[in-house]
C-alpha cells in the first residue's frame, strides 16, 4: 500500500502548551516552508501566525514560567490548510473582567476599513509604552495582515473557573 497516496497534501496541526518564542518561530517557519504559494501569501500567513501566537504568549492568563525569570502564556493553536485558505485558531484563558472590553474592541476591528485600521494602529503605537503596547494593537495587526474579518469568541467554562478567548483568522492563499 502506498502510504503517501492516502495522505492529503493539506496541512493540519494542533498544538497545546506554552507559547514561547522558540516554539512559535519553529512552527511558523515549518508552516510557511510547507506552503506552495507566492512569497506574498506566505508572508501574510506567517505574519498572522506570529501575531496571533504572540497574543497568547503575552496575554493568556494561564502562565508558564521559563528560566525562573519570565513567563509565557499557555494556550492552544489549530492550523487548518484548506484548498484556498489557511485558518489559524487560538484559544487561551483570560481574566473574567477583561471579556467584555475585549469583545467590544474585537467587534470594532471588523467594522473598520483596512485604511482606518492602519491609521488606528499608527496612533496606538505612537501613544503606547515601548514595554507593553497592549493587546489591542496586536489584534489590529492580525486583522490587517489577514485582510479578512476575524472571528472572536468568549467561551465560558464554569467547570474550569474562567473565561477563554478564541480567535480565528483566515488568510486567502491566492489573494493575499
Amino acid at each position: 500500500m502506498d502510504y503517501n497516496a492516502n495522505h492529503k497534501k493539506e496541512l493540519d496541526f494542533t498544538y497545546e502548551g506554552p507559547f514561547n518564542m522558540r516554539i512559535i518561530s519553529t512552527l511558523g517557519k515549518y508552516l510557511t516552508d510547507f506552503l506552495d504559494t507566492s512569497y506574498e501569501a506566505r508572508m501574510g500567513i506567517y505574519r498572522v501566525f506570529i501575531e496571533i501566537c504572540q497574543n497568547v504568549s503575552l496575554y493568556s492568563f494561564d502562565r508558564v514560567w521559563q528560566n525562573k525569570k519570565s513567563s509565557v502564556g499557555y494556550g492552544k493553536l489549530i492550523i487548518k490548510d484548506e484548498e484556498e485558505k489557511i485558518t489559524v485558531y487560538t484559544i487561551n484563558k483570560i481574566l473574567d473582567h477583561h471579556a467584555d472590553i475585549l469583545l467590544e474592541n474585537c467587534n470594532n476591528l471588523n467594522n473598520y476599513s483596512l485604511d482606518e485600521l492602519s491609521e488606528l494602529k499608527e496612533k496606538l503605537r505612537r501613544e503606547a509604552s515601548v514595554e507593553d503596547l497592549g493587546a489591542h494593537i496586536g489584534l489590529i495587526s492580525i486583522r490587517l495582515y489577514s485582510k479578512n474579518v476575524i472571528k472572536f469568541e468568549i467561551i465560558d467554562k464554569p467547570d474550569e473557573q474562567g473565561k477563554y478567548f478564541a480567535i480565528t483568522a483566515t488568510v486567502i492563499k491566492t489573494n493575499n
Binding site: M21, S25, Y39, E40, M43, E51, S118, R125, V130, S141
Partner: protein, 129 residues
C-alpha cells in the same frame, strides 16, 4: 566609540542581525524581529545611535527586515525618531528600506513610518526569492 555588531543568536530567526559601523556611518538591521521583551534588545541600539549622532557624523541607515512584530515596530519608531531629530538639527541622514518585490504589505509599513515621522525613507525593492 566602537562598532556595534549583534548576531548572538544566529539559530533564532526572531533576532535580527545588527551592524552599526562607527567609521563609515552605515547602520543595518536585517532579518526578522519578534523576540520577547523587544525593548530590551533595542535599548543598546538606541544608546549607540544617540552617542554616534552626538559626534555630528553622517549616517546611512539601512533596514533589511522582512518581518517585525508590533512591539518591534514601536522600537523602530524610536530609532526613526532619533534620526528625525538629528536631521532637523542639520544632521546628514539617509534612510533606505529594502523589501521583497512581492511584499506590498511591507510597502504599507514603510509608508506608515514615513507618515508618522515625516522622514523620507527610500523603499528599495529587491528579489529575495
Amino acid at each position: 566609540m566602537e562598532n556595534l555588531y549583534i548576531n548572538d543568536n544566529p539559530n533564532l530567526v526572531y533576532f535580527p542581525v545588527v551592524s552599526f559601523n562607527y567609521v563609515n556611518g552605515v547602520c543595518e538591521i536585517s532579518g526578522e524581529s519578534y523576540m520577547e521583551e523587544t525593548y530590551k534588545f533595542y535599548q543598546p541600539l538606541l544608546k549607540w545611535l544617540n552617542d554616534y549622532i552626538a559626534e555630528k557624523k553622517s549616517i546611512d541607515f539601512n533596514f533589511k527586515l522582512s518581518y517585525f512584530n508590533t512591539s518591534s515596530s514601536r522600537s523602530i519608531l524610536e530609532i526613526l525618531e532619533i534620526l528625525r531629530k538629528y536631521k532637523v538639527t542639520g544632521g546628514k541622514v539617509n534612510i533606505n528600506w529594502y523589501y521583497n518585490i512581492e511584499d506590498p504589505d511591507m510597502v504599507g509599513e514603510i509608508n506608515g513610518f514615513e507618515f508618522e515621522t515625516g522622514l523620507e525613507i527610500k523603499a528599495i525593492a529587491v528579489d529575495l526569492k
